[in-house]
Symmetry: C2
């Protein structure tokens, strides 16, 4: 991976959306709200370049990605007090490195199953102060 080269894939939906508004972004990644009505606190951390796996990144980029992921996790814990945080990098359908950060609650639509399993009940709306998440990321990482 040569840093500074904007590697995009014309067939990739995440590459196509890379300039869309984000909660926060820097030169390497963007943090967006998943806008999932069942999971108001569902956030995605998306690498900007079209990279497939964490192990395709340079070590310093891996570390940056994990640091951002954990600041998102901690801030969502502080804001929402979830029962559990789910972190997942799957990408089977869109093989462009992105992480799902999903605050889970005992009364959410799938608990205690993963959000990709069969639905168990209606979800419960929860307010999320996204501006506070963006502010926290700016405070820690700048940009």
């Amino acid at each position: 991976m040569v840093r500074g080269m904007a590697i995009t894939n014309p067939d990739c939906s995440l590459c196509a959306m890379r300039e869309l508004p984000a909660i926060w972004r820097d030169a390497r990644l963007r943090v967006i709200h998943a806008a999932d009505p069942d999971y108001p606190g569902f956030v995605r951390v998306i690498w900007l370049e079209h990279v497939r796996e964490m192990t395709d990144l340079a070590r310093e980029d891996q570390e940056h990605c994990f640091r951002v992921l954990l600041v998102v996790e901690q801030t969502l814990r502080d804001l929402l007090r979830p029962e559990k945080i789910n972190l997942a990098s799957l990408g089977n359908q869109v093989p462009h490195l992105h992480w799902h950060v999903i605050p889970r609650f005992a009364d959410d639509a799938h608990f205690p199953d993963p959000v990709w399993a069969a639905r168990r009940r209606a979800g419960v709306p929860r307010p999320l102060a996204l501006d506070l998440l963006g502010a926290r990321l700016r405070e820690v990482f700048g940009a």
Copy 2:
């Protein structure tokens, strides 16, 4: 988190299994084979102490956990050449920090869905040289 204290939870199934044989272990975590017949390369990285979230770990422990996770990912990629690697820390049912590392193939039982979705087809057996994964972890981290 005070290092060196063995924090276990008597009601936790992962705490109960912490002394079982592993592919590799050190003082902080163990790497085990999930023994899932659909997913021969499915490996778990399990923190030894009963900790809930990544953000409950000290920073150096977070980094160690991620380094082990990525050596497992790279070694499974080298050994199996999967279509995609799935990484997930969920823990809704067993809230003791553990990571699923799942090599995915276009002909596997759930592809391109997550392994927690409805099954699409029978899985395909694939040999996995677990001793090579253990050897690689010893080479990188000792123990």
